[in-house]
């Protein structure tokens, strides 16, 4: 299969899975913004995306994309290190036009996936997972079960804690760097690029990654300072954390 055997094919897998994940991030980010304006509205979205068949299929698809992107990243990096050879240069300078992010995609990716682990622990493990476990007939605490779609409360309880808020900011900054290289790079690998579109894709990549990261960041900041609709949730729940 050329998608795993050829270098270009392996990169195509990275591009397509990466681009799909960018679309998911855009969707997830716009969904989160609702929490700033209406806590009830956000909880309704959480209910739509609970343990329903379509949400579960989408979750499984996303998990597959992440695993594919991650596994290929390691395979590619290992092959590239081997191709570079064991002897390194004594003096190495980063040439002009080479972005720092482009040379550190794996490290940034690892930060992103660690952040994702934390995020799944903070939210998914309290929302979709208990619902699924409950459906499978396992015992879930009634208190947890009652709150599975109370996303707004979980946002406030997580981000009112400064350590979590700071960790999420670090995660989002790493994601921004990862995306500024990733988006145009995916288009280059898929071959939809030339001298004119190079600048356009770079600009599109920068704008999209900035929108995604600022959108996510807004919810973290609103949760931390109790702004917008999240301010009311903070008063309602008082001592949730």
């Amino acid at each position: 299969m050329w998608l795993s055997k050829s270098s270009v094919g392996r990169k195509v897998v990275m591009s397509v899975s990466g681009a799909a994940l960018v679309l998911f991030l855009l969707f997830h980010m716009s969904m989160n913004l609702v929490a700033i304006f209406s806590a009830e509205g956000y909880n309704m979205i959480c209910e739509f995306l609970g343990a329903n068949w379509y949400a579960l299929v989408a979750t499984a698809g996303l998990a597959a994309l992440v695993v594919l992107h991650f596994v290929y990243a390691f395979i590619l990096t290992m092959q590239n290190r081997k191709a570079r050879g064991s002897q390194r240069y004594a003096v190495a300078e980063r040439p002009k036009g080479v972005s720092w992010a482009s040379q550190n995609m794996l490290v940034l990716g690892i930060i992103v996936i660690l952040g994702m682990g934390l995020h799944l622990f903070n939210f998914w493990a309290k929302m979709q997972l208990p619902e699924v476990l409950h459906m499978m007939g396992m015992d879930v605490e009634p208190n947890v079960m009652f709150n599975v779609s109370n996303g707004s409360a979980y946002i406030v309880s997580t981000f009112s804690c400064p350590v979590y808020a700071a960790l999420y900011v670090v995660w989002l900054v790493a994601l921004w760097f990862h995306l500024t290289h990733g988006i145009w790079s995916a288009m280059q690998t898929l071959g939809v690029n030339n001298k004119v579109w190079f600048c356009r894709w770079k600009m599109i990549g920068n704008v999209v990654s900035t929108i995604i990261v600022l959108g996510f960041m807004a919810v973290v900041v609103a949760g931390y300072f109790g702004m917008g609709a999240l301010g009311k949730v903070a008063l309602d729940c008082g001592a949730c954390c």
Partner: protein, 251 residues
């Protein structure tokens, strides 16, 4: 008139492909600024021969930036700090009095060191032999307007054909990828009618050879185009990807 400079030269010395190499330091005195980098190494080699020492082995041929033989990784850049120029077009006036100049061979698993600063670039010939040609007889010189080709396309093909196959792209790439070289060779044919006939076969064969010889996967860092002495653009890499994906989807 350029000033004379004195500097410290750190050169990678390695007896053979399997031998362990190390840097050796040489003091260079009163080298005129209009000496080319290779002439400066010639001066050093003459001194070494006079002292009954082994001269430094390095690749060179035309010394006018055309042949692609000279290599040398100077102060962290393939072909040295100058842009759009080969090592033979690098002059000592680029450096300052008292500088330390580090000279290393191309480092990549695809280009093993033969001796000192000389590396084996046969891999590029093998990639070329896999498909970097037109195997049909295109006849003699066609009538000027018999096959109209747009000016911009002719220019693109010419810019890709400017690649001299020196291997600076592989040397610069953190992944040891040969994509800029292969994409230039694929592009110069894929853009023109004579090359389009075998385009699919060519791109598949050349990429397969490149992978087989152990070059890395392109991650679009753009170090290759920044260091290329002929300023070959990574838009060629996009074209290679496009041609390759199209060819594979047709299968």
């Amino acid at each position: 008139m350029d000033k004379n400079i004195s500097f410290t030269l750190k050169v990678w010395r390695q007896r053979g492909p399997k031998a362990k190499g190390a840097f050796e330091t040489y003091q260079m005195k009163d080298i005129p600024g209009d000496t080319s980098f290779l002439e400066m190494l010639d001066i050093l080699n003459e001194q070494l021969v006079n002292e009954n020492k082994e001269p430094i082995a390095f690749d060179h041929d035309c010394r006018e930036g055309i042949c692609g033989m000279c290599s040398l990784y100077v102060n962290g850049h393939p072909h040295g700090p100058a842009t759009g120029a080969t090592t033979c077009q690098l002059y000592m006036r680029r450096f300052k009095d008292g500088d330390t100049i580090t000279v290393e061979p191309w480092r990549s698993a695809g280009f093993p060191v033969i001796r000192d600063l000389m590396v084996d670039r046969t891999a590029f010939d093998k990639i070329q032999q896999a498909g970097g040609y037109v195997s049909i007889n295109t006849g003699g010189m066609p009538d000027a307007n018999a096959i109209p080709i747009g000016k911009d396309i002719a220019e693109e093909a010419m810019d890709a054909a400017a690649c001299i196959g020196c291997g600076a792209c592989v040397a610069a790439c953190k992944n040891g990828s040969a994509m800029l070289f292969v994409s230039a060779k694929v592009s110069q044919f894929a853009l023109l009618p004579q090359g389009k006939v075998e385009a699919k076969k060519r791109v598949k064969a050349m990429v397969a050879k490149m992978d087989e010889l152990g070059f890395g996967n392109c991650t679009n860092t753009r170090a290759c185009e920044a260091e290329c002495p002929k300023c070959v653009s990574i838009s060629n890499i996009a074209r290679l990807n496009r041609e390759f994906i199209k060819a594979k989807l047709k299968d």
